[in-house]
Symmetry: C2
């Protein structure tokens, strides 16, 4: 059985939630960087064009990390000019000064840096301590800000860490404040291994607010590893967050399960937000069609439940 | 990457939520009734035993509908005696007087009737109007109550209906009150097509409470068709609900998507509840092992994200 007639959710607002949410679409970067095969540059460009056409206003386009680390996004220099004229925000990931040079030379006006709340992941991902990573980002952020570039600070492992277990809230707050102090315009709190539950989300947001990092400066980035991403998002909205990261079609695989998802699927998020009467600007039908089209290119079905339901696909 | 060490969620309670939730496990009935193939009676019995052993206190065991309508559960007479001595509540579905006779003759002490909030689904499922169906249940409930049997009233299509679209709240309230008035001990509000969002859940629970159907008499039965089940559950908990229906491993297929789920997976629910510090009595590891074992019998992977993550299965 399908949704009532239109394939759109019924609208019943709930008190205390924001009127509008900005979706930070991470599919082309965070989703595709985990793909085993190489996606052709023109397909990536078309993906970003379709996402913009579906009404997404922020589409993280690619990454200027060294191609050795993320070969899937080694075509950043070729891709970015193909989409840079689109009337949407196109942040790009930048790990260091060299990456910033590459991004600036192509006219990028929004960058993101990628920090960690835990020593273990800072070591694994950046081969640095948390503070060494922050020190590496500091001049990058300063130069970006001097060039008028908008800076997002990603923070990984904000809830649990596969090596360290539960991550103390004060530890997350400390790195958030350091990122804000160095000039980041916004932060994205990542539940990189998907273990958070709604009370934990509420606790972290409350602690950040008490330490002068308001929800208005924060995005949330939940993974659906244990199916918790949308419930956690609801808790974040109830605590004033208005920016939510998501990946079209749930792109971004788990390392251990072929059809399992890492990222919250944008379509599942949009279904909830529109049902709550929260404006996103997104056309759910067009977005779903885009994810079905992309799933065809990748040769496997989307893990998004909304995509599966609306596309009536046998998967 | 996996959960921190133990494979259990970290515990961070949230204010205003119940200390304990009763999970009404529907896998053996609602899950298996949608299976194409016949599951051997002994496998069903072992499934129920394992669920009880995992700490579930209410396991809906089978259905005494006419075998013509649900051939998958035609072995109810053989199955029930195999499990009836288990120290858990074992409600059985009963559609009419004949079904009640069969259930009582086997010593069932808990039954459930299955009503609809919409005319279209009452017609499709029971070939009756809503009021004709209620009239059919009335003597069944009366006789069950006279025999000291606990009665649950299921109500389908409480939010949206595939033929009628959005279902007005007052229409749902009317049928709920009729079921309570005829003597049901508890109701289960079904989002049969999975279209609800959290504001809609809150609206219905608020309307029911205002009309003297308190949340303490209610269970919620969400489907994950659009990925909304857990967020809707959180909204229900925030409005005082303490009984949640779920299906081990997410058993209970969608008619249009092989690996898509209908029912909220018990494991995904338990992850959230335990993360919130809410007691369920369930051992998540044992429950997950049970769903993996059952998935082996059914020859396809569980759609539960928590089962997939904890079992590290390539699916």
């Amino acid at each position: 059985m399908s949704a009532p007639e239109s394939g759109l959710p019924m609208v019943v607002p709930a008190p205390g939630l924001p009127a509008r949410v900005r979706i930070h679409e991470v599919g082309p970067r965070d989703g595709l960087q985990n793909e085993k095969g190489q996606v052709p540059t023109e397909v990536k460009a078309e993906f970003i064009r379709r996402l913009a056409d579906a009404g997404l206003t922020t589409v993280e386009a690619t990454s200027f990390v060294h191609p050795k680390w993320v070969p899937q996004l080694a075509d950043a220099e070729q891709l970015f000019p193909l989409v840079s004229a689109l009337p949407v925000a196109l942040p790009v990931l930048v790990p260091n000064d060299r990456g910033l040079d590459r991004a600036l030379s192509l006219g990028a006006t929004r960058i993101a840096v990628f920090a960690s709340a835990t020593e273990s992941f800072a070591k694994a991902n950046l081969n640095r301590t948390v503070d060494e990573a922050l020190a590496m980002f500091e001049p990058v952020v300063a130069r970006a800000k001097a060039e008028g570039v908008h800076v997002r600070g990603y923070l990984s492992m904000c809830f649990g860490d596969p090596w360290e277990g539960p991550v103390p809230v004060h530890q997350v707050v400390r790195v958030c404040k350091a990122l804000m102090d160095m000039g980041c315009d916004e932060l994205s709190l990542g539940d990189t291994i998907g273990v958070a539950t709604p009370g934990h989300v509420a606790e972290l947001l409350t602690a950040l607010d008490a330490d002068r990092v308001p929800a208005t400066a924060l995005g949330v980035h939940f993974h659906d590893t244990y199916g918790q991403a949308l419930a956690n998002t609801l808790a974040a909205l109830q605590h004033g967050v208005t920016t939510v990261d998501a990946s079209a079609g749930g792109l971004g695989g788990c390392p251990y399960a072929k059809s399992a998802t890492g990222n919250l699927a944008t379509e599942d998020l949009v279904w909830m937000l529109h049902g709550l009467g929260i404006d996103t600007g997104v056309d759910l039908g067009r977005l779903t069609a885009t994810s079905v089209w992309m799933a065809g290119h990748l040769g496997r079905p989307s893990p998004s439940r909304t995509v599966r339901a609306l596309s009536h696909q046998e998967q």
